[in-house]
Symmetry: C2
């Protein structure tokens, strides 16, 4: 095990009842983790006050919402949710793995 | 063009003389961009004082250094460089595209 290196594939976990989550690294200034969705699962629209966030779709496909935009995001799509802008996952269309980063980290 | 959605593939750029860089999103709390290496290119070991950073290898393969660890990183490897810990790319072994995030953003 390393403090500095990890493989996304090793941290993927899905849940039948709710999306799977994994914490990868948490520093004082930045949190990085995974959100893993089964087809049909969602993440309600929410806002991080004073924190910037991104999602990177690693695999799968989902309808993503930021502000008043909703788009289909697939592998290699980077989704930017700046501080105070509402965002969420309207619906995963396939099994979908997303890397997420939030700065500063959630309390 | 969207303020919130982009494709990594659309921002990839390589340079013969030095690694290619692309800014994807820059907020007050978080910067996200790309670093693109031709085989043999390097990024010298450096430190971000007071800023956490990660690299995600999107494609390719490189020797990465953080602190006193050097490892081969390939697609799906997440590399964590906490604030004040020296890090760099010892050598790209193939054409390599990395997503990088830094919080707070560089000045």
């Amino acid at each position: 095990m390393s403090d500095y290196f990890t493989q996304i594939a090793d941290a993927v976990s899905f849940g039948a009842d709710r999306p799977g989550k994994a914490d990868l690294f948490a520093g004082r200034h930045l949190f990085v983790g995974l959100n893993c969705f089964e087809p049909g699962q969602r993440q309600r629209v929410h806002t991080h006050a004073g924190a910037d966030k991104f999602y990177l779709i690693v695999s799968g496909r989902a309808h993503m919402t930021v502000g008043d935009e909703t788009r289909v995001a697939g592998p290699g799509t980077l989704v930017w949710a700046p501080a105070d802008v509402p965002h969420g996952v309207a619906e995963a269309l396939e099994r979908t793995v997303m890397l997420v980063g939030i700065a500063p980290p959630p309390l």
